[in-house]
């Protein structure tokens, strides 16, 4: 990847991480671990991959993103604000009474949100429906859905996986945030959903394993997904929960708790220093 593009993506990812943490800190509530984990993927999707226009958020030809793991909304909101769907100042109203930025994505009130999600397993099915609508209407938009590895313990994920392959939804890409942790502990200890790559392959999907923080690999995987016809693609992205903040990285305790003032200051300093 060209250096300028890589630098741009790093800057976007940094701003997404900062925006997510700003909201979570202001709210004293939210899910920083998974939000930081998917920041690089979101940066690539919104600034190098997806055809979306903040001035026309309901454009029927736009690419769609369904955040099936809806609790990592702070990162998605930060990406949308960074892209210009709404003012960045709104990020600090996250989860507050009267804010458009609900605890989980709300398509009725937030510009750029393509599907209301939050109840795990459900967004992925909706992504299948959006992809099917594209096929019915002969449109060439693409649909991206970010899932959690813990989320893939939901049976509905596999109902949707069956559906996506059955209807040959090659306009659909599932990106699994494979950070290995869920609320109660390691996914392999709580209820082992692995091997996710072999499972998706067995369900008839094109499967690609990548490092979810390596922009070159993200780029390659998404390009390869575009090239595959007749089946959807699942990208199993190895991510680090809490990526970029030393005390949060790979710590299950940071799944759903907000940093206190001093912790927030440290997180911001670390993210900026390492950028």
């Amino acid at each position: 990847m060209e250096t300028t593009k890589l630098e741009m993506l790093k800057e976007k990812a940094l701003n997404i991480r900062l925006g997510a943490l700003e909201g979570i800190h202001a709210a004293s509530s939210g899910h920083p671990g998974g939000s930081l984990a998917i920041a690089d993927i979101l940066a690539y999707l919104y600034f190098a991959e997806m055809n979306v226009d903040p001035a026309n958020p309901k454009d029927e030809n736009r690419d769609r993103l369904v955040l099936s793991k809806g609790h990592t909304a702070p990162a998605l909101y930060a990406a949308l604000a960074e892209k210009g769907f709404f003012d960045k100042d709104i990020l600090k109203t996250l989860r507050k009474f009267g804010s458009i930025l609900q605890g989980h994505p709300d398509m009725k009130h937030i510009p750029g949100i393509d599907m209301s999600t939050g109840s795990l397993g459900q967004g992925f099915s909706a992504a299948c429906g959006i992809a099917l609508a594209g096929k019915i209407d002969g449109k060439d938009y693409r649909v991206y859905s970010i899932l959690g590895d813990g989320e893939s313990e939901e049976g509905q994920i596999w109902e949707a996986a069956m559906f996506g392959a059955h209807y040959k939804l090659d306009n659909l890409v599932a990106i699994v945030d494979n950070n290995g942790l869920q609320i109660d502990g390691k996914v392999t200890e709580v209820m082992n959903p692995t091997p996710l790559d072999e499972k998706f392959a067995a369900f008839g999907w094109n499967v690609i394993n990548i490092d979810g923080h390596d922009f070159d690999r993200i780029a390659d995987a998404l390009a390869s997904a575009r090239a595959v016809k007749g089946k959807p693609t699942a990208i199993i992205a190895k991510c680090v929960k809490g990526k970029g903040v030393s005390y949060m990285e790979d710590q299950v305790g940071w799944h759903g708790s907000a940093p206190k003032d001093d912790q927030y200051e440290q997180a911001v300093a670390e993210l900026k220093a390492n950028a």
Binding site: K108, M115, S125, A126, C128, I130, G155, Q156
Partner: protein, 313 residues
Amino acid sequence: MADKIATREAYGNALASLGEKYTDFVVLDADLAAATKTGTFKKKFPERFFDCGIAEGNMVGVAAGLAASGKTVFASSFAMFAAGRAFEQIRNSVGYPKLNVKIGATHAGISVGEDGATHQCNEDIALMRTIPGMTIVNPADAIEAQAAVEAAITTYGPFYLRFGRAAVPNVCPEGYKFELGKGVKLAEGTDVTIVATGLMVHLALEAAEALKAEGISAEVINIHTIKPLDKDIIASSAAKTGAVVTAEEHSVIGGLGGAVCEALAETCPVPVVRVGVEDRFGMSGKVPELLAEYGLTTENIVANAKKAIDLKK
């Protein structure tokens, strides 16, 4: 009175017959197209029909995604697996984002018959009523079923359409005009009001005749739209008669009876007696046997109408 037709049959026919006039709706089913009668639509419009297999939760999610992309979507299964199994998908993926999905639920109530308790859903109206913005229509006959399907197509938002397996006679009078959210007065009376829905409507009309023979004047109101409920027609009738009996092929908890009690308690408190499935599960049997066992009969409506009249004294 015309031949008996099941409302599920009318549902399938309505989808197929309206498919040309309204070209943008699609139909989903969960491996029950032959039973829900969406197969009638599938035969005519195969490119607008999508089987989701035995996966109702995913079907509702797919419906939500299609609707989020501008489609009007009918998603069908038995009431048990639509309102029951997929309740939370309907609530979170359809209701909360207020998407244009029509749940076409067939085989509602006890009249499923031989399949027994696991398939007899007497709880669906109660479940669907609690979802904000959900419109619920429970047609009484084939004419009303056809009209309900068209109303669902032309009215934006989440719908729960409830159809039965058993054949029912036509109750809609000649020249009947279906109006979403409006109750229909089928008989005038002064002593008691019978508020009925679905297959209980024709039994309510029979009950009114039986009461008349005993010198009791019963008003009969058909409530096809359970939500939003036509509180005005119910309250004004209750104010006139002073006693109400409800009749539904659904649990007495949370369905039409519950809705009528809630409405009257706040507008026109009069005695209300509920005829419906008492707080128990279903069982296998033939439809007439089951209707008798669960008190979904003309005789039971008559007895409870008298009870309601006694209560006002």
